[in-house]
């Protein structure tokens, strides 16, 4: 630390008047790094994944007699261009989805290379995350418990009622918990690593269906594993949207804690001592 001697002197002299701030250690260094790295890696996996999906869509129907189109994602693009204002003159409606939520159509080789690069990084990053959870002891806060069933309902009721209470200007109290996360948070933060593990397992299954055919059997066969892999992507998307909204709603301390590691919300915590 870059203390100058004079700064040291002032800090010792002002210590009685200005005691240190009490903060809690919230996120381990490795957890924070893997969290932010995951933003980039998951984005890369999803964008390249949808480009790969283009080559052989999981959801197909009999070719349309007029257009020859068989891809449900292309149908959605065509619908968007027909009904969404400002999209009527889009040049290739059947590619709309691929042009907007993937790297693009018709680039399978490149998409595969990027997907595998991101997949190896995702696996490495998952190990970093687990190491951070173990070293920081954070894994204990993620474990589900029996009381979660009822507590999750309480939280659900709170979120559902929140907008109505705001509109009616009624007081609407947040349920109180003396744990790091509430039951819904815990369910979400526990599900994401599980989904990550399943994505990796189904990904290997699709990548090596012959050498790892026992994996395919676990997920119900090669084609079923592709469907699993596709819907696991939606787990991340459906997680990220409320996650980002709620983190911002929860306040600056919560967002900051994922960067700096500490939180100034010293609720139920244990004093370890004065560090430095």
């Amino acid at each position: 630390m870059s203390h100058s001697t004079s700064a040291c002197k002032t800090s010792t002299s002002t210590l009685p008047e200005q005691p240190g701030v009490l903060v809690v250690r919230k996120h381990h260094f490795l957890v924070r790094w893997s969290h932010w790295l995951n933003v980039a890696i998951l984005l890369g996996l999803i964008l390249s994944g949808i480009s790969i999906y283009w080559a052989s869509p999981v959801y197909q129907h009999k070719p349309d007699p007029n257009t020859g189109n068989f891809d449900v994602a292309a149908d959605i693009g065509i619908w968007i261009c027909a009904h969404v204002p400002g999209q009527h003159h889009y040049s290739s409606p059947s590619d709309w989805i691929y042009n907007h939520v993937s790297l693009g159509p018709g680039m399978l080789a490149l998409a595969l290379r990027l997907h595998w690069l991101c997949a190896y990084l995702f696996m490495l990053n998952g190990m970093v995350y687990v190491a951070g959870l173990v070293r920081g002891g954070g894994w204990r806060s993620l474990l589900p418990r029996w009381t979660d069933l009822l507590d999750a309902l309480k939280m659900f009721r709170y979120y559902v009622g929140f907008p109505f209470a705001k509109l009616a200007r009624r007081q609407w109290l947040h349920p109180r918990f003396n744990t790091k996360y509430n039951a819904l948070q815990r369910a979400a933060y526990f599900s994401v690593p599980v989904a990550g593990f399943l994505s990796v397992a189904t990904g290997w299954e699709i990548h090596k269906p012959m050498q790892l055919h026992w994996l395919a059997a676990l997920f119900g066969g090669y084609n079923a594993a592709r469907v699993w892999h596709f819907w696991l992507m939606w787990v991340y998307i459906l997680f990220v949207v409320p996650h980002v909204i709620l983190v911002f709603a929860d306040g600056w301390d919560t967002s900051r804690s994922m960067i700096v590691g500490w939180s100034a919300r010293v609720g139920r915590s244990e004093v370890v001592g004065n560090e430095q």
């Binding site: 701030v21 790297l103 029996w146 269906p209 244990e270 004093v271």
Partner: protein, 300 residues
């Protein structure tokens, strides 16, 4: 596992240390612990926060630069980046990643591991994937399989009758997996590549086969030769066939009459139709799809 209420100690900061230790002892291994609180000088906290924000901010910029560097030019153009960003260094980097993945695939391969086989009721339709540009069957009557790079130094030509009378025919119902993601379970019959390797041994230093095909025209009829590399370790797998029959009938032009390579431990693109020539070589030969950005080994 619930320990709520058990470790409920008020965190005033003046708690005697002995008490927190005794609480810890009662906790189960899986029980959630209170977050450790630490006292820090505001100045230290400010300094550390500033450092962390700068480091994470710089990393975000680096990630954006990295993404811009790795994204395909088509994607960048759509995002409004008109300048050509793709460089040989990026190609090198992505190829490096691909080679690592190929090495993993090669490490996973075992000549003793059989791929799953299926029953006839599990057979699914197999499209020919020519997308309407099925080749003219005119090549079939004059078709011959040529072997080159043999230990004998000779150049051997075999017709389909030679192959079918000299070698025993094996049947298998296996899955063919395309790089695009679709797959099909089909019933194949043919001779084992391994039997051919035993009957006509390659030269001792050979590690690869260069496979050529009579399917050499693109959809608009222009010359577009197909050539593919196959490692001999995979060629000698007991389920690697030189298939002559599909669903109990001799191969049609759709599926590579009169002889196609059936190598279920590789992606469909290595399952070359209408094989005309096998050349055994020491160095890895060129590969049609590897030159178009796909992997080389393609083991699945």
């Amino acid at each position: 596992m619930n320990n709520e209420g058990k470790g409920d100690i008020p965190s005033t900061g003046v708690e005697p240390e002995v008490k927190s230790v005794s609480v810890k002892k009662r906790q189960s291994f899986f029980g959630e612990r209170p977050l450790p609180a630490i006292e820090k000088a505001p100045r230290v906290l400010r300094y550390r926060s500033r450092r962390d924000f700068l480091v994470f901010g710089a990393s975000t910029l680096a990630a954006l630069a990295g993404a811009g560097y790795l994204l395909p030019q088509d994607t960048l153009t759509r995002l409004g980046v008109l300048q050509n960003m793709n460089s040989p260094a990026m190609e090198w980097f992505l190829n490096k990643a691909l080679r690592i993945d190929d090495d993993v695939a090669e490490a996973l391969y075992s000549v003793n591991r059989r791929v799953p086989t299926y029953t006839k009721s599990q057979i699914t339709p197999l499209k020919n994937n020519y997308n309407g540009a099925t080749p003219d069957p005119g090549y079939i009557p004059a078709w011959k399989l040529t072997l080159d790079g043999l230990a004998s130094g000779l150049n051997i030509s075999l017709d389909i009758r030679n192959l079918l009378t000299r070698f025993s025919v094996h049947e298998q119902i296996t899955r063919l997996v395309c790089v695009e993601g679709w797959s099909a379970i089909a019933w194949w019959a043919g001779l084992r590549f391994d039997d051919l390797l035993r009957a006509y041994p390659p030269m001792s230093q050979a590690k690869w086969a260069r496979v050529e095909s009579s399917v050499n025209l693109d959809a608009s009829g222009n010359s577009d030769p197909y050539f593919m590399s196959l490692d001999l370790a995979t060629a000698s797998h007991p389920q690697t066939l030189l298939a002559t029959h599909f669903n109990g009938q001799p191969l049609t032009v759709d599926h590579g009459a009169p002889l196609r390579l059936l190598v279920p431990v590789k992606l469909g693109l290595k399952n070359v139709k209408a094989v005309t020539k096998l050349t055994y070589v020491a160095e890895e030969p060129r590969d049609y799809w590897a030159e178009r950005g796909y992997s080389r080994y393609d083991g699945i």
